[in-house]
């Protein structure tokens, strides 16, 4: 799994980060990192999990929990596009209205 994908979900790698060997340790416990902002991950079925440390996040992302909620539920790009159109329409209306009403102020 690429580093870029991990960074996309978990943020930048901490400095001097050493990946622990989780697979060979069946008793490995993920400890919460107070400096790490909790991240929510989704799998392909829409199941979700909160991860509380970079190590845990990397582990889950590498395990396939690498879907964005919008890939499952929403199409964020469409929302952003329509949002832009609405604001643009509002701006054009404002300019047109002011032009026809001959308002002095800008």
């Amino acid at each position: 799994m690429s580093k870029e994908l991990v960074q996309k979900f978990c943020g930048e790698y901490p400095s001097e980060y050493i990946k622990p060997d989780i697979e060979s340790n069946p008793n490995f416990v993920f400890e919460n990192d107070i400096n790490f902002k909790s991240v929510q991950l989704w799998d392909v079925d829409g199941n979700t999990v909160f991860v509380n440390s970079f190590i845990e996040c990397e582990h889950y992302v590498n395990g396939g929990w690498s879907y964005l909620i919008n890939e499952i539920k929403f199409n964020e790009s469409n929302f952003q596009f329509y949002l832009g159109l609405i604001v643009l329409f509002s701006l054009i209306s404002r300019i047109t209205l002011r032009y026809f009403l001959k308002l002095k102020n800008v």
Binding site: G11, Q40, T48, I69, K73, F79, L83, L88, V106
Partner: protein, 646 residues
């Protein structure tokens, strides 16, 4: 002030923006909000973004006032999740419910409400003539610059704007359109009210309007615009701007590091990264900020009416205390206040402002402001102003009386002892010099003042030997350092202490003051972190940027994130000794030039501001910075005196 009759549509829209965004949901589905229980909250893990927060409150109205429910905004959520529950977590303190608040929507909703309310205020009688080409250029560059901030502070925004592709220019176009919409409307409304704009400065204490999930305040749009317009049109501060340009070149060439710092309570007025682009952005913002404020003061400061200014300034203390108190007791109100007032932090959850700790020390209460000390300064200034009106036998309105009571309460709640002490000092001096029995009152007053001083500073703090308090900062600084690296400033101190130079004596005095001001540990922590090169010590690392200070040198783990607790130390980091020296020189020079016009009131206000910023981070908050800058401009340029003698 208001014109409500012709604004029914606006009032309707205000209500719409207050209520509607939180009820957007698919009401035709079968998913109905469940109750929160300790044992199992899988419902909220399965039905993410299905339940709107409005729907949730309607189904569970008791959560509105019960104090173990904490509602937080989750900016890193999609547009579709706006206003909906995105997660629930349970701790020993209670339930933490996060609600989607996509920053792109926040920019629009928060500013729309602000603009609607702003538009209700009366317009000036005459429309100000402005240079239109320069106006359009200024609007364009303001929008461009603020859009650039998203690029410059990518690391911050990658955690807040959901699915924003930082390497795709179309996303910046979307931001540009949104910012242009905000900018053009805000500037247009401001130009309609420009002669009264100065009176709105104190409102920043009440409505800082930092967009949720961003590092921008709506006021930056305004000051950036006026700063650019002023630079193009008048360039009043030509010499200062040239000097600033030289500093800027140094700061930019020096921005080779790459340190990130979560802005937390400084959000909206502090860089999140110390690196070239972020530094460039904040350098320009600071430039436009001081030029913008100066422009407004130069153009409209002469028309300012002191009574009106004091009325606006002091009356704001009333809603600040009330909103703070209600918000600290009602979770729902607390939650929405953060959004609509654009607060850097939630209103405090400390519901009782009278509370003391186990050592019978008052616990400071910050209410809705991000810092108890800084809002305490504001209340102190309100008391100063109203007392001055009273002593000068001006008419004290009912509003003034209420403002006085609320400011007094606010100052007590905030436990800003310096402000309390300075206010008492001010009142005593005025009473003594107004009385027939000056000598007796002087003795009694001095005794009273000393008793209060000893009580507030703490009797035990005066009992330590000078050897101890004069080396306290240095020794504490050594305690804070980690074994594998030492800051350059601490190294410098070590060398000086070895050679026992005059510097040690001066630093000893500074250390003693810090100890008595209860700043010893905080400034020692600063010393342990402060790691400038020689050139950085001279010129600083750039305005409003703490990334270098907090990222370069490690110190031992502290129980909380501590700012330097002195605006002087902050400015030392930003502008270096040369920059700080120049600022002080300009102030002293102006004082000497205008000393004949300085009456006791002006001197007190200047002392009050300087003592407070010496021991507090106030200038790192946009409301304190802009208001103090404006007040000092008015005082140093003789405008307040003219009015006070009306």
């Amino acid at each position: 002030m208001f014109n409500l009759k012709s604004n029914y549509l606006k009032l309707f829209l205000i209500l719409f923006f207050l209520i509607a965004p939180w009820f957007i949901s698919d009401y035709s589905d079968s998913v109905k909000p469940a109750e929160l229980v300790q044992e199992d909250n899988s419902f909220f893990e399965i039905n993410i973004c299905d339940i709107s927060i409005g729907e949730f409150f309607v189904a569970n109205p008791s959560y509105i006032y019960q104090d173990h429910y904490f509602f937080n905004f989750n900016p890193n959520s999609s547009i579709g999740c706006f206003g909906k529950i995105t997660g629930v977590s349970i701790t020993n303190e209670g339930f933490f419910i996060s609600v989607g608040a996509n920053p792109l929507i926040n920019f629009l909703i928060q500013s729309a409400l602000f603009l609607l309310i702003f538009s209700i205020f009366k317009k000036d009688e005459y429309v100000e003539i402005i240079n239109k080409p320069k106006h359009y250029i200024s609007v364009f560059f303001t929008t461009y610059l603020l859009t650039f901030s998203i690029y410059a502070e990518q690391r911050f925004y990658s955690n807040t704007i959901f699915d924003f592709q930082f390497n795709d220019k179309r996303y910046y176009l979307l931001i540009f359109i949104i910012f242009y919409w905000i900018g053009v409307n805000l500037i247009s409304l401001s130009l309609d009210r420009i002669k009264n704009l100065i009176y709105f400065f104190p409102f920043m204490f009440f409505v800082p309007l930092i967009f949720i999930g961003s590092n921008l305040s709506i006021y930056l749009f305004l000051f950036t615009y006026f700063g650019i317009y002023s630079f193009l049109n008048n360039n009043y501060l030509k010499k200062m701007n040239i000097l600033y340009l030289f500093f800027s070149i140094f700061w930019l060439f020096n921005s080779t590091g790459r340190y990130y710092l979560e802005p937390t309570k400084l959000r909206g007025f502090s860089s999140s990264s110390y690196e070239f682009n972020a530094n460039l952005f904040w350098i320009i913002v600071f430039f436009t900020l001081y030029n913008g404020i100066y422009y407004l003061y130069r153009q409209y400061g002469n028309d300012i009416n002191l009574n009106k200014f004091i009325n606006y300034f002091t009356s704001i203390s009333i809603p600040i205390v009330i909103v703070g108190y209600i918000g600290s007791n009602i979770p729902l109100f607390n939650f929405f206040s953060e959004y609509y007032f654009g607060l850097q932090r939630n209103i405090t959850t400390q519901s009782n402002p009278f509370i003391f700790n186990q050592w019978s020390e008052k616990i400071s209460w910050r209410g809705m402001y991000q810092s108890a000390e800084s809002i305490g300064e504001f209340y102190g200034l309100c008391l100063f102003f109203i007392t001055y009106l009273y002593l000068k036998k001006y008419k004290i309105s009912l509003l003034n009386k209420f403002a006085f009571i609320f400011s007094l309460m606010g100052l007590y709640f905030s436990d800003n002892r310096t402000s309390i002490l300075l206010y008492l000092f001010f009142v005593l001096i005025f009473l003594i010099f107004k009385s027939k029995y000056k000598n007796i009152l002087l003795v009694l007053g001095s005794a009273f003042f000393v008793i209060i001083l000893v009580y507030l500073v703490g009797f035990q703090n005066f009992q330590f030997p000078y050897e101890y308090i004069s080396t306290f900062l240095y020794k504490k600084g050594l305690d804070f350092k980690v074994y594998y690296e030492t800051s350059s400033f601490l190294n410098l101190l070590e060398m000086q202490y070895d050679s026992n130079s005059i510097f040690v004596f001066l630093f000893g005095l500074f250390s003693s003051i810090s100890f008595l001001l209860n700043r010893g540990e905080l400034w020692a922590l600063f010393i342990a972190r402060f790691n400038p090169t020689y050139s950085e010590l001279l010129f600083g690392t750039g305005p409003l940027s703490f990334g270098n200070l907090y990222g370069e040198i490690n110190v031992i783990e502290t129980d909380s994130f501590y700012l330097p607790h002195s605006s002087f130390l902050s400015f030392l980091v930003f502008f270096g000794t040369v920059g700080l020296g120049l600022i002080l020189f300009i102030l002293v020079y102006n004082f000497i030039q205008n000393k004949k016009t300085f009456d006791a009131f002006k001197i007190f206000v200047v002392i009050y501001i300087f003592v407070n910023i010496f021991k507090n981070d106030s200038l790192n908050y946009i409301a304190n910075f802009t208001n103090y800058f404006l007040i000092l401009l008015l005082i140093f340029n003789n405008l307040i005196l003219n009015i006070s003698e009306e």
